[in-house]
Each structure stands twice: as structure tokens, then as C-alpha cells.
Symmetry: C2
Subunit: 366 residues, 2 copies
């Protein structure tokens, strides 16, 4: 509800019944003119079409609208509904840690849903995808143990990010692997493919069989770890947002290289993405004076990621498919014996597709 | 050639014959120990395995190697060749504008190569991909005018980024399009899909027919434009690296949202990515005090991108396939008459695949 408005030559100030005040430059008003948008919502005008000489001559309330007359003779008509919503419609920042529920493993319940429910009910699929947005992951149970099924899972929310590993990859023990993920060694907490830019935002791991001793999965909320690092060691946090390390993966077919920080922020201090993968950091050089401070910060990051209270442990059983945000969630696995079979299929996708599906399903209906 | 070395408890200093000096912390030495890497190049040790108490007890030159004895009894052996290369092997920053050849359209020759040469000769393919790395684009000629062929082009260097537009999309005139690209309107200089995060790094446009009047393509080096903006209006440049705008694309199937700056830098001031797309900037709100300064900077960016000397004009003819870096190159097209046929097929891919192929082909052989 608009309580009152006032204007000067270059600005309009709206005072709402709830106490909010919105002040808008005449340039903002021209740029946001609803008449300057195509039916599909795309803006037809460019910033070069704005009239920098135009001021506000008069503002007239007409029913549910405000009509703004400019000194150049143009009229801009905004519905009050539109203007009231404007503040809120500034698109939510859905990728940074703001608004997310950060968790610690020792007090965490893994969100899960069964495959028949997920595929049969939009509201359940919506809730599952919302869990990825909020907590960074969801477990689908009873996914058919068919090779390739992991791609069917992706098709429910987005698109497959094909890579040099293929559209999907098998995680089985391999002799002399080009990637240690395909050995039976334990792997510390890590994000996948930091050497890829853009990094795949979504990872899936679908368990087809798991008869080995060990091979458990540890999951860590990297946003929670970053928050802890920032609280306890702000100077280390700052350093790790600033220093970009080179990563590399090389085999016969591929030579992938990137240069990214451990912790990526939006400039206003909100964390957007975290990374950790000691295996694929390439040789790097820093000025001597920075080397020790960097290693101190790097160690604190590794220690924080290894904090026992942060880790959530689970064991993937046949039919389980874990979907997680690879820009946030660290995963690890314990070593396992060569004895039985352990076969996971993994694949990558991107967050924009997942979020798009989530929005289309209507997050409010979840 | 190593001239001499000296060491203290916590550091080793190498003086090379060419005058370079490399100073390495003992932590760096432990972390870069060649024995700590798997045969595949992946690091086996974690930062948590480093010994913070260990100092350097002795350094011994043995033939082509340096053997570094630590106070904890460990020995690290580096070949001199390895150490000499270390400075250089810090992976090149291949995405930022450093090392690129920035161009202005009025003095630019579009790198081009014929499809038979490209597919038949690795060195020619390498040169073509190197042109994308260096100048941001390459034109393939004589690509068969078959629908879907654009995907075959992608398969020569990377992977298709499938989106809600499909694996490929047709650019033809459509009545009441959900995206203005599919109309016959002119389009100002823009990058594609700023509402997608990650943004597709590579775009392809393959011309199958072009019988209309108009419909010419304009190409602008966005890195050059950013360099000019920085030189002429540093405060505007700075503002545009800092303010993240919301972008959105919405239709019946998709609701894509992002929040990104016009100019993305690496924190050291090197430009990594540029964007411009007036059509898909969503309604946004800034503090009143910032609105006018922002619009000023935004206008300067738009004006710079429209500078006549920056634009390179070309007309895609049937068989032409343009490959360009969508994080750098702006494209535009003039309006065209409804009369004849104009049919392009476009598709997206990612830069990491393209660079990987370029490296594997051996950039030096180009």
C-alpha cells in the first residue's frame, strides 16, 4: 500500500504503509518503463535510449497506477503493484550462502525421497530440488540399478554436462588409473573437477553395487566450513578468496587447466563457491613473502574441512543416487578393500538448469 | 642453468644464470616434492601432511639434481630442470585479457580456415583454435550446409552444452518469439545468455542460408572495449566490475536467473569475462545514491561497445560457421527484411574443452 509519494526533478520517492521507502532516479524510471519491454519480458530499449535531459514534470495517481510525466513529454505508467513488488523482485541471490541453511554433519539429517515419489509427484520433486538449493544435496532412493540411469535422473531437472570422462563415468577400481578417484584409496574431502572452468555445478553419484568393506561417503557443507574459517581466522579466509591457484588434469586425451581461488565471493563478502582438491593443484609459484601465509591459510582450510563435527557419514547402497551442489558440498570416501564389488556411476550437470526447474515447479508449492 | 644456491632454515634461494632468483619456503618444497605425486601427476599428499617443524639441514647438488635434507630426516630430490621450469610451469592464465591480442574492427582481419583443411590437418585445427584463444574467434568456411552440422563442428574441439534451447537452436524469424533473437529486429552488441550461470563460454553460428537484405553481423572485442573504458573512465570501469545485476529469461519451460557484473575481473585487475545484454537485465534495485553513477557507467559501457572503430562487420554466407568466445566477443546484427530466407543454426560449448584440445594439439606446433 502506497502511503504517499513526492518527487523532485530527478527522483521519485515512494513511502509505503509498511514503512519502507523507495527512492528512484528518473533514469531508473525510464529504464524500467513497462512500455519498454516486449511481451516476453525482454527489454526493448537500451541504456542509450534514455533521455539524460528529461526530468519529472508531474506525477499523477490514477487508480492503481502512477503516471509520471517527463519534461520531454513522455509518460511512464507504473502500476502500484509493480512498484511495490519492485524492491522484492530484484532477483534473489540463489547461489551465495545467503539464505542457505548451513549444516554440521553431527546434527544433520540427509534429505531423502524415493524415486517413484520423486518422478510421480511434482511437489515431491520440487521439495527434493529445493533441498539441493537449501542444504546442497538430496538422496534419491530406489533408483533402478541400471547402468546409465544416472542420466535419467539428470533429465528430470536439467542437462548432462558431457566431459572428457564421457556423459557419465564409472567409479570402479582400475589398475594404474589416470585419476585416483578410480583407485581404492581413500579420498579426503574435495570438490570435483576444480581444473574445469566452468566447474560442473551439480554432481550425481548413483550406486549400482557396494559389497566392499569401507568405501563410505563423507559429506561436508563447504559453506559452513567457510563460515567457520571466516569467524575463526578472518585473515586466512581473506587470503583464500584472493589467491588463485592453478589446477590441472592431464591424460592422453585432455589437458584441463584453471586458475581459481579456494573460496569465491561476490565482492560484497558473500561466498559463492568453494573448492578443495589437493590432488589436482598444479605446481604454483607465489612471491616468497606470501608463501608461508598462504600455506598457513591453506592448512587452516584443510583442517576446517576435516573437523569431525562437520562431516556427515553415509554409505551408499544399491539404488541410492546422491545429487549434490559441487560448488558447495565436499565429498570424501574411506579406503576400501579390493575384495567385493563397488560400482558407482557419476555424472555432472549445471546448477542453472536445476534452479530453473525448481522455479518452474514453483518453489512456493514445495 | 643454476649459478648458485643458498639456504636458511626455512628457505632455499636459487640464483639462475639468466639473473632470475627463485626463493622457496620449506613448506613449498615439501608440498612440491616430486615423490609426493602419483605417476599421473596428481598430488598424493595433503597440506596436512606437511611438517611445520621441519627446517632445511643441508642442500646437496648431485649431478642434475638438488637433494634437500630436512631436519626431520626426510630428503626431497628435485631435478634442476624441474626447479628451473617451476617458475614457468605455473599455469598460464589463459582466460584473462593478459596475453591476448586485443583488436579493433577497423584494423582487423577475421581469422578463417576452410572446413576440409580444418578437419584434415591437426596443425590447421590447432591454429584455428589458437585464434579463438588469442583473438576470441575464428571463421570456418565451407562447412557442409546440413542441419545439425554445427554439432559436428563442436565435436572437433569439445562438448555440446545442451540448454533449454536444445542441443542446437535455429535462428529464423518466428512470430511472437519468446526471445527477440528469433525476430527480424536488429540486435545491438551483446553476449549470449548472461542469465545462465555458468554462461556458455563458446558460441557457434552456422549459416545455412542468407537471402535477406541486411542481417549482417557485427563483432566487437569486448576485452578491447573494457580496456578502453578502463583507460578513459576508470571509475566507471571499477563500478561495473563491482555491481552485480540480475538477469532473467523466462518462458513456459525455463526460468533462468543469474546475478553477475558487466565486467568480471580476477581481483588483480585482469578482466576475465565481459557481458552486455540489455534485453535480459531483470528489474533491479540499487541504493538511490548509486543509481545515477551506475547509469552513467552503464551508458559509457554501451557507448564504448558501440564505437564505430571497434566493430568488425561481416555477412555470414551459407557454409560459414563462426566460433567465438562468448565471455569476450560481443555480437550484433542489423535488422533484415522479412523477404528471403535466413537460417542460422547456433549451439553452445565451453571454453575448457576448447583449450584442452588446443593444448593437446600442442600450441607450439601451431
Amino acid at each position: 500500500m502506497l502511503k504517499y509519494f513526492e518527487y523532485e526533478q530527478n527522483s521519485l520517492t515512494l513511502s509505503w504503509a509498511d514503512g519502507r521507502v523507495t527512492r528512484l532516479d528518473v533514469l531508473w524510471l525510464q529504464d524500467h518503463d513497462p512500455a519498454g519491454r516486449h511481451d516476453n519480458g525482454q527489454r526493448l530499449i537500451s541504456v542509450l535510449d534514455l533521455d539524460w535531459q528529461a526530468g519529472i514534470r508531474a506525477v499523477d495517481r490514477q487508480g492503481g497506477s502512477l503516471v509520471i510525466c517527463l519534461t520531454n513529454g513522455r509518460e511512464l505508467t507504473f502500476t502500484l503493484e509493480h512498484l511495490a513488488a519492485e524492491q522484492m523482485t530484484t532477483i534473489q541471490d540463489d547461489r551465495s550462502w545467503r539464505g542457505k541453511t548451513l549444516w554440521r554433519g553431527e546434527a544433520f539429517t540427509l534429505p531423502d525421497v524415493s524415486w517413484p515419489d520423486y518422478t510421480g509427484h511434482d511437489d515431491i520433486r520440487c521439495r527434493a530440488l529445493a533441498a539441493v538449493a537449501e542444504s546442497g544435496l538430496v538422496l534419491l532412493r530406489d533408483v533402478p540399478c541400471e547402468p546409465g540411469q544416472v542420466l535419467e535422473v539428470i533429465h528430470t531437472f536439467g542437462y548432462v554436462r558431457e566431459t572428457n570422462y564421457g556423459r557419465l563415468f564409472d567409479v570402479k577400481t582400475v589398475v594404474s588409473p589416470s585419476n585416483l578417484a578410480f583407485s581404492n584409496l581413500g579420498l579426503g574431502p574435495h570438490t570435483d573437477n576444480p581444473y574445469r572452468d566452468p566447474v560442473p555445478g551439480v554432481q550425481l553419484l548413483h550406486c549400482l553395487s557396494n559389497e566392499v568393506d569401507g568405501g563410505e561417503n563423507l559429506l561436508v557443507d563447504g559453506f559452513q566450513a567457510a563460515a567457520r574459517l571466516q569467524a575463526e581466522h578472518p585473515e586466512a579466509f581473506e587470503l583464500l578468496t584472493r589467491i588463485r591457484l592453478p589446477y590441472r588434469f592431464i591424460d592422453e586425451k585432455a589437458d584441463l587447466r584453471s586458475r581459481v581461488p579456494f573460496i569465491e565471493t561476490d565482492g560484497a563478502g558473500n561466498v559463492l563457491k568453494v573448492r578443495y582438491n589437493n590432488r589436482s593443484i598444479a605446481p604454483f609459484m607465489l612471491p616468497f613473502e606470501e608463501q608461508r601465509a598462504f600455506y598457513q591459510a591453506y592448512r587452516l582450510w584443510a583442517e576446517t574441512l576435516s573437523a569431525p563435527d562437520l562431516a556427515f557419514t553415509c554409505r551408499l547402497e544399491p539404488g541410492d543416487c546422491l545429487i549434490f551442489d559441487n560448488t558447495r558440498i565436499m565429498h570424501a570416501r574411506t579406503a576400501f578393500t579390493d575384495g567385493g564389488r563397488r560400482h558407482l556411476q557419476g555424472a555432472y550437470s549445471d546448477l542453472d538448469g536445476l534452479y530453473s526447474t525448481l522455479y518452474r515447479l514453483g518453489a512456493s508449492a514445495c
